[in-house]
């Protein structure tokens, strides 16, 4: 037990160090630095609300609706995309140090989590402006976030392993992610989609995370229990597949890189 705790401590120390360095580089290069994380979703919000007025039914609290969607969407795409490239990017460290492969993937997701929290700061004034009240149910956002992180790490691991063998997956995944922005109900409710694709869209983990977060953050409504079950299944299955793949391919990856 003690050994395990020690190991976890060590790993989290390494993760923090690497991510701290990366973040620092980003901040040093720019003057506004981390502020971009807040500005980015706000700009997006502005454009989406002005341009698609006609297509999207506008409720009073539409900005809150979009903002929650944008934050989670951004977390998914940043987290998985950077995790995908993490192994190839950290080639040298991976070969030289005896760190396990997973560390590099988790580290990338860790940075995305930090960005997510930072961007969320802008959510607070928006929620206050639109009189969204805090309820006991708001606390449900915590398990949702944990599940979401698990799914992102799982998908990221699977992608990172494929990426080592087959770099073209990067192109494919970029395309898929750009479509996801539209089909996950980020700014257009999925009821607007053609009916025959709706059942498929409702399986998508990004949609599930957004849907449950909205329910507990702004609507104060209970979510369908099936949504919870699906999200939990996603988390468990992607994590196990990721771990199994990682174990099986460990040596091969080291050789290829």
């Amino acid at each position: 037990m003690d050994r395990l705790r020690n190991e976890i401590k060590q790993l989290s120390f390494v993760i923090e160090q690497i991510s701290y360095k990366e973040n620092k580089r980003k901040i040093d290069e720019t003057h506004l630095g981390l502020l971009w994380n807040i500005i980015n979703p706000l700009l997006y919000l502005l454009v989406l609300t002005t341009f698609y007025k006609k297509v999207v039914v506008h409720d009073y609290d539409y900005p809150v609706f979009v903002f929650i969607g944008l934050l989670i969407m951004k977390f998914y795409s940043d987290g998985t995309m950077s995790a995908m490239r993490s192994l190839v990017l950290n080639k040298q460290l991976l070969v030289k140090s005896k760190l396990s492969i997973g560390v590099f993937i988790v580290e990338k997701v860790f940075i995305s989590i930090k960005d997510l929290f930072f961007s969320s700061i802008a959510l607070i004034p928006i929620m206050i402006a639109f009189h969204v009240k805090i309820h006991l149910r708001t606390l449900l956002i915590i398990p949702v976030l944990f599940l979401t992180v698990a799914v992102v790490i799982g998908i990221g691991t699977i992608l990172a392993i494929i990426y080592v063998y087959f770099e073209d997956i990067g192109y494919l995944y970029t395309i898929i992610m750009s479509v996801m922005v539209f089909v996950s109900g980020v700014f257009m409710p999925i009821e607007r989609m053609p009916e025959y694709v709706q059942p498929i869209l409702a399986i998508n983990p990004i949609f599930l995370s957004i849907y449950i977060s909205r329910n507990c953050l702004m609507y104060n409504l209970p979510s369908y229990w099936t949504a919870w079950v699906k999200l939990i299944l996603w988390a468990i299955s992607t994590m196990t597949i990721g771990l199994v793949l990682l174990k099986k391919n460990k040596n091969k990856i080291m050789n290829l890189i």
Partner: protein, 252 residues
């Protein structure tokens, strides 16, 4: 000028070839992605927007817009770091400095030509005949190239001094895509912003291109506005670069 125009073009071509090779060096399908990418995008976006757009030729509409958009997108995004990336060549050789920006733009243009192959494929699928007005598509593309060269020069020059420019541009460009009416036809946009939409250069390039293929016609006013934007941006780019050139050389 120590270099004739011929050498100039030679260097740009060499740099471009290097860039394309580097981009696809580790991928299996390589340059085929330039054709596949737009087709895949078209397929998926059509599932999402075909019904909303209420247009029977939506996939073709989308792929034309995508082709025009991706050239501007790729050209400006890659050009930002053009001076920084070629630091060595920049100091050692006496190449005209603008060559680095031009080659990145030319790369994007070559990429666009590959996307045009994809566009032709989609025209075959939807049985749309090409008419001579397709020449307007290429004129629009050339003007857009000129426009994006101007923008690229400004961005690349500023980037030497302010690294924020890169983040700023990456943030802006994801928003600019909505200026083209790429996902939905302009009629779907609210009236209040329609006017601003119709004078913005990105929309005009895309609009001329779409018109030339889908409606097989063109409007002279639009073409004139388009030319003005392109020449204007190009000249401003050159002026900015000339006034900053010494400082840029010093800084690098």
């Amino acid at each position: 000028m120590q270099y004739g125009i011929k050498q100039y073009i030679f260097v740009i071509r060499e740099l471009t070839a290097r860039e394309i090779k580097r981009k696809y060096s580790r991928s299996v399908l390589g340059i085929l992605w330039s054709v596949l990418n737009p087709l895949l995008f078209m397929g998926l976006m059509s599932i999402v927007f075909w019904e909303i757009s209420k247009s029977s030729t939506y996939p073709v509409y989308y792929i034309i817009s995508y082709t025009i958009w991706s050239m501007f997108n790729v050209a400006t995004k890659t050009s930002i770091t053009a001076f920084e990336d070629n630091k060595n060549l920049f100091q050692k050789t006496k190449l005209p400095r603008l060559v680095f920006v031009l080659s990145r733009n030319y790369t994007a243009f070559v990429n666009m030509l590959f996307s045009f192959v994809a566009l032709l494929i989609s025209l075959c699928i939807f049985r749309i005949m090409l008419s001579p007005s397709v020449i307007m598509f290429f004129i629009a593309a050339l003007f857009e190239l000129m426009f994006s060269i101007g923008v690229s020069i400004i961005l690349a020059s500023l980037y030497v001094f302010y690294k924020d420019v890169k983040f700023l541009w990456e943030n802006i460009i994801v928003l600019l895509v909505h200026m083209l009416a790429i996902y939905m036809p302009i009629e779907v946009y609210p009236e209040s912003i329609r006017y601003y939409m119709e004078i913005n250069p990105l929309f005009i390039f895309a609009d001329v291109a779409r018109m030339s293929i889908l409606e097989k016609s063109f409007e002279l006013d639009r073409m004139l506005v388009m030319a003005m934007w392109a020449v204007g941006s190009f000249i401003i780019g050159l002026v900015v670069f000339k006034s900053l050139e010494n400082k840029i050389v010093e800084k690098i």
